[in-house]
């Protein structure tokens, strides 16, 4: 009997060994897979017990903070609500959803276990406190954007050209990030869509700044090149008219930009060809997700899109380069992209990487991440940028953008209007203005768009808003 008992014990040892092997499967070998399983909410539960860092505007206004929610957990509140919701986003405890800076800066906002808790973690647990994120957003100009848009669907983006710092990013519709699940759409635009980074909008004549850059920097044209501005002309087998079907006769390229002459720019676009246009568009950031510290899922690349929302290379046979050169064809762009175009000209042809974050500071007050300006691309020669600035100044002084010539910035604003017809029947337009100021030493670049405005000329609707924004931002002494 004793021999049998010993054999039985061997069986028990084997059974227990099986238990240890299986335990190590879940704790070691399969642990990573289990931790990443979508059903596993433990990581999320853990994050609830973290006091996430605050998010600030550039003057110290609190945009997001954590408040105690009982049971050792924290919840998020947004004192400024819908004014910053597009940029700041939200971190929804209940539905495990997150957006905006709350998402893109999440790892810093959550922080890492420090001090005592990192040493004694397994025994002590301990409280985890996240880092604070200081944004580049300017509360006064942000508030002004909301006031001036006045409930109409549209977007305002302002960039400091030399640093890429985004001073304003406000869009209508917006939502209250304290309650992201309830908000109302506006003119078919989803209320949680950030029009500034996700809008599929035709740029209209503001795109002529891109075409002019290609024309001048490629050496094919000068500001004084003479082109015939007759109307209508045939482009890609279809007639193209100037605004009001005006025939301008032979004009300089400067005059063509000043008066936004479509037929001139269509000829320029066709003469430059798809390859050159494509090169300069890529340099400006078209065809790439914007290099912003913002969730990639909430940004779209600007460019030709066909069929539907699929990106179409400029070199495709389906592209009508003449119409693209005047901002039509199948172009779909974001206000952020057009602000980047204006900022590039303002910064002597160099595009700085746009960013929403100035610095990240840990709970001890130490700056752990000082976001420094970085160059995204050299788009054009500084001399070309100077020529283009002169041309764009003329637009505001005597062309389509005179509404932006606002005291005390008179004569110091460069810009370009855009009027993109989106519905031909009842003539609904997207009204655009991109520009920068002061011309002598540019400090701020803006893009303003209002969508679906009846007979919405950019020079009438968007230019005054852009001027007000620049005036406010410059008055604060950026």
């Amino acid at each position: 009997m004793n021999a049998s008992i010993q054999k039985l014990f061997v069986v028990v040892i084997l059974l227990f060994a099986l238990l240890v092997v299986w335990t190590s499967r879940w704790t070691v070998f399969d642990a990573t897979g289990l931790q990443n399983d979508p059903l596993n909410r433990l990581g999320y539960f853990k994050s609830l017990t973290v006091e996430r860092g605050r998010i600030f505007a550039d003057d110290g206004t609190v945009l997001a903070k954590s408040v105690k929610a009982g049971g050792g957990t924290w919840s998020r509140t947004y004192p400024q609500g819908s004014l910053y919701a597009q940029a700041v986003g939200y971190y929804d405890a209940v539905y495990e959803q997150t957006a905006g800076l709350e998402q893109s800066r999440s790892s810093q906002l959550e922080g890492t276990p420090t001090g005592v808790s990192s040493v004694f973690g397994p025994l002590g647990g301990g409280q985890q406190v996240g880092d604070d994120v200081y944004t580049t957003l300017d509360p006064k100009a942000q508030e002004l954007a909301r006031t001036l848009l006045d409930g109409r669907a549209g977007s305002v983006v302002a960039i400091v050209p030399q640093t890429g710092a985004i001073a304003v990013m406000y869009s209508n519709p917006s939502y209250d990030d304290n309650d992201p699940s309830s908000c109302t759409n506006l003119q078919g635009i989803g209320c949680k869509t950030n029009l500034a980074t996700q809008g599929f909008l035709p740029p209209g004549s503001t795109f002529k700044v891109v075409t002019t850059t290609a024309a001048l920097d490629s050496g094919r044209y000068t500001p004084n090149s003479i082109i015939k501005g007759d109307s209508p002309i045939t482009v890609s087998g279809a007639p193209l008219e100037n605004d009001g079907d005006v025939s301008w006769g032979p004009v300089t390229l400067t005059e063509a930009l000043t008066n936004s002459i479509n037929t001139v720019y269509a000829q320029v676009g066709e003469a430059l060809g798809k390859q050159i246009m494509s090169t300069y568009m890529h340099r400006f950031g078209f065809y790439s997700t914007p290099p912003l510290d913002y969730p990639a899922g909430q940004m779209i690349a600007s460019g030709e899109r066909y069929p539907l929302t699929k990106l179409l290379p400029v070199t495709s046979d389906l592209v009508d380069v003449g119409r693209m050169a005047i901002g039509q064809d199948k172009l779909a762009v974001t206000p952020l992209q057009m602000a980047m175009v204006a900022a590039t000209v303002a910064n002597r042809g160099t595009l700085m990487t746009p960013r929403l974050t100035a610095k990240v500071v840990n709970p001890d007050g130490v700056i752990v991440d000082h976001v420094k300006p970085t160059v995204y691309s050299h788009v054009m020669k500084p001399s070309v940028a100077t020529e283009l600035t002169t041309m764009m100044t003329k637009v505001v002084e005597e062309g389509t953008g005179t509404a932006a010539n606002l005291a005390p910035l008179t004569g110091e604003v460069a810009g370009k209007t855009g009027t993109a017809t989106v519905e031909t029947g009842s003539v609904l337009d997207d009204a655009w203005f991109i520009g920068f100021a002061p011309v002598s030493h540019p400090q701020i670049a803006v893009a303003v768009v209002l969508t679906h405005i009846a007979n919405g000329y950019g020079g009438v609707y968007a230019a005054p808003i852009a001027a007000q924004e620049m005036k406010t931002l410059l008055a604060e002494g950026l």
């Binding site: 010993q6 028990v12 240890v20 335990t23 499967r25 879940w26 433990l42 957990t73 025994l123 002590g124």
Partner: protein, 439 residues
């Protein structure tokens, strides 16, 4: 060193464990737990010392390691229950230990000559079988997760009869096989397999029947595996015939397969076991793998060294909903691994293994067949109970809701297991008594 002094020394690890464990939980939850709750730990240690003195007087020759091992397990369990559900359940658990120790003392005194149990073996087996059927009686028994393992007479008593039935069935089988083990192997051999005479094999066929009845009535693979495995182990030791075990396992396998595919609850348990992370099963209202999948997640969070006592998430934060249902009973092993990791879990299993080894050692030293078979059966059933619940939680086998002996929260389990330990120590005391066997 004298045997009983070794036992006293063996209690030191238990005291260290309970002191360190309570201190860790206390420091971490100092905001919610009152200082007075620490005294439960002290009271508990005092109880262990009292029990030791009792053993010193009544069972001077008994194995010196069994009781300290039980104390270590119980202390660990108390710390776990305390860290999971706070002082209320921990206090109740400590109260159950007081009752358990009283029952332990009562068993030792009443069955000082435990061999008189043999006289009541048919009474014992009838009571045990009745206990097994009890949960199916309407208004008394009730269903937990589709299995019938609990009895609740409101206002009188609520308990898990299977915990007591397992002890009774082992005692019966040890006694029965002591008488028949010779004749069972005396039959004709066909193809190298000994066929026992039908007359004596009948009762063994009955055992298979009992296991199948447990499956049919209680809807529970794990319990029936535990009972049946324990019976086969005793049968094997009694007859030394591997063929009996093989035939027995095949018979069980066939029965389990047939019933598994024909009883929806068992089939559901098998599906949960095979595919716990399938979203349709995870979110199912009826046969949900939520508990089992979350147990794997909890273990994964523990890793090698664990997250610390009380760090495993058992409630969905800011709610009263369980993330890990039954954390202090069925799922306690998952919480152990989540808290103290693979190493902690392995150490716990090793503690059980030593306890089982001491039980088998007792069986080896015992001088008569009944004692040998009973000690073997009792030890095996502890080992199998650990295997069934830990194997269920770690997905070696489909999950069954039995307790982890001495560690899980639960009165029936503690009481029944203290009776089991008392019987084991009685056998051991007799076996190790110096001089010729007293017969």
């Amino acid at each position: 060193m004298r045997v009983r002094n070794r036992e006293l020394l063996g209690l030191i690890p238990a005291s260290l464990l309970i002191t360190a464990g309570f201190a860790a939980v206390f420091i971490q939850r100092s905001n919610v737990l009152a200082g007075v709750s620490l005294t439960y730990g002290a009271i508990f240690l005092g109880l262990c010392v009292v029990a030791h003195i009792f053993i010193r007087v009544t069972l001077p020759y008994a194995d010196p390691y069994i009781f300290p091992l039980v104390a270590v397990l119980a202390c660990f369990g108390l710390v776990m229950v305390y860290s999971i559900d706070g002082s209320t359940l921990a206090r109740q658990q400590a109260q159950w230990f007081v009752l358990g120790l009283v029952l332990f003392g009562g068993t030792v005194i009443v069955f000082r000559d435990y061999r008189k149990l043999e006289r009541y073996r048919y009474l014992i087996v009838l009571v045990s079988l009745a206990l097994l059927v009890l949960p199916r009686i309407p208004h008394i028994g009730y269903e937990v997760h589709g299995a019938y393992l609990a009895v609740n007479i409101p206002g009188v008593v609520a308990f898990q009869p299977t915990e007591f039935a397992k002890v009774g069935l082992v005692v019966f089988l040890a006694s029965y096989l002591r008488d028949t083990r010779q004749v069972l192997v005396a039959g004709p051999r066909i193809l190298g397999v000994t066929l026992p005479p039908l007359k004596h094999f009948g009762p063994l066929l009955l055992l298979w029947g009992v296991a199948m009845v447990i499956l049919i009535l209680l809807h529970d693979i794990g319990s029936s595996l535990m009972f049946y495995g324990g019976m086969l182990a005793v049968l094997y030791v009694a007859t030394n015939r591997l063929s009996f075990v093989v035939i027995g396992l095949i018979a069980f396998g066939i029965g389990a397969w047939y019933l598994g595919t024909h009883i929806p609850h068992i089939d559901a348990r098998v599906q949960e076991w095979l595919h716990p992370f399938r979203a349709s099963l995870y979110n199912s209202k009826t046969a949900s793998s939520y508990q089992l999948a979350n147990a794997q997640f909890t273990q994964a969070a523990g890793g090698l060294f664990g997250q610390g006592f009380g760090e495993s998430v058992v409630y969905i934060p800011n709610s009263t909903y369980h993330w890990l249902p039954a954390p202090d009973t069925d799922m306690i092993y998952a919480v152990v691994v989540g808290d103290v990791g693979l190493f902690g879990g392995a150490a716990l299993l090793f503690t059980y293994l030593i306890l089982v080894a001491r039980g088998f050692k007792t069986a080896v030293l015992a001088r008569d067949s009944f004692s040998k078979l009973m000690a073997t059966g009792l030890s095996t059933i502890v080992a199998l109970q650990v295997f069934v619940i830990v194997g269920g939680v770690t997905r070696v086998i489909p999950l069954t809701g039995v307790t982890l002996p001495f560690v899980s929260y639960g009165g029936s389990s503690i009481l029944a297991n203290f009776v089991l330990v008392a019987l084991l120590l009685l056998v051991s005391d007799r076996a190790r008594r110096p001089g010729p066997a007293v017969r």
